[in-house]
Symmetry: C2
Subunit: 224 residues, 2 copies
């Protein structure tokens, strides 16, 4: 009994993009004449855009109809494009494939981001060795649903209880649980250790670089 | 025995500016060829710029000399100027003066921000009734030193143990303790409830609007 596969979230986990997304969404809201605190956006990042808007609308009765939602998504895309150059991978993220391959562990990426949003990051990530890369377009339901995680497990040919999900948000932890797996938290998205732990993270690491030095702690064993 | 005065932090507490500052600092670092994760900047916002750079340098051995520090501060100022329009006050922040005045409670603002940075926000805040507004230029030491808080208490003519400090960051809580006062946390800067509580916050509120509906909980009594 050992962990055979890992599924990684992208934004906030492998790429330092959370804060730019928050500022871009807030700018879109402001231009739409809607005031939403940055914190409220931040703590809903990691859902896909539609679900985040639905959640904010429910929480603050923003009166978002289809036209407004479309305008907000376009506004976010436009604002984010001015900040895309600020986004980079976290240290060691590009080594995940080689490290896991050497241990015989399969891996995948599951992101709510669209191919347009994350294409450049995926190129930098050396995803050739990944068994699956599931972006927003590939998903019927997005995190915190467990569905896209389950899709990844199926593509990897592993059972949920033989795999872990690495993410920075409570939505990743919730999705991992729903998929029958377990969550591993990283702090790089701005959630606190306690928030991740109380939403079910089995362990919480500072960043993916630290996690890669602690793989045994989550049940990964090298095949020697 | 009742609380007679409140000192408020500005960025992240009365104004929704934390995320813009994080993105602006990160852009300045990137242009200086230095990689620092947004989270590491975020959790040090609330110190003044010099102290934050010193703290990041100590943590990550960035090799910042005086020339680089000056360039980073200029880079931050330039990047932040492109986001200043996105910044707004939190709901009800502009009513603090009237509310506290009606209760006979004196108040002040203590911010590490410079007059240039925060002048526009102060104008919107109706600070005429504030007993003191202490900006970065007025301070020999900045938060988390208790010194600027003590300056405010002196200006207000209150003893530290008769006053509270409202802020969004662990640095506000630390400064309030050092000044002999007590801290009241708000979540709007992106710190989690547990982080504020474990750094000494007596109570933690969602935002300043919620706090204004709960003043009795921190020992404020209306003079009837």
């Amino acid at each position: 009994m050992a962990v055979k596969a890992l599924v990684f979230d992208l934004d906030g986990t492998l790429a330092d993009s959370t804060y730019q997304h928050v500022v871009a969404w807030q700018r879109a809201f402001k231009r739409g004449g809607i005031e939403v605190a940055a914190l409220e956006i931040h703590r809903r990042i990691g859902m896909d855009g539609d679900l985040m808007l639905q959640a904010l609308d429910r929480a603050f009765a923003l009166g978002l109809d289809a036209r407004k939602r479309a305008a907000l998504k376009a506004g976010h895309a436009e604002a984010f494009s001015t900040m895309r150059d600020d986004v980079r991978l976290f240290p060691k993220a590009e080594t995940i494939g080689a490290t896991l391959q050497s241990l015989g562990i399969s891996w995948a990426i599951v992101t709510s981001g669209t191919k347009d949003d994350v294409g450049g990051l995926l190129q930098q990530l050396n995803v050739e060795s990944a068994g699956a890369v599931i972006t927003g377009e590939d998903q019927k339901e997005s995190k915190p649903s467990g569905h896209p995680i389950a899709q990844a497990f199926e593509a990897l040919g592993v059972k949920p209880h033989d795999a872990g999900v690495v993410g920075d948000s409570v939505w990743d932890m919730l999705a991992s649980r729903e998929a029958g797996s377990f969550g591993i938290g990283v702090l790089t998205g701005g959630y606190a250790r306690e928030e991740l732990a109380s939403s079910g993270a089995f362990r919480v690491y500072r960043d993916v670089a630290e996690f890669l030095t602690r793989l045994e702690e989550v049940g990964i064993q090298s095949k020697t």
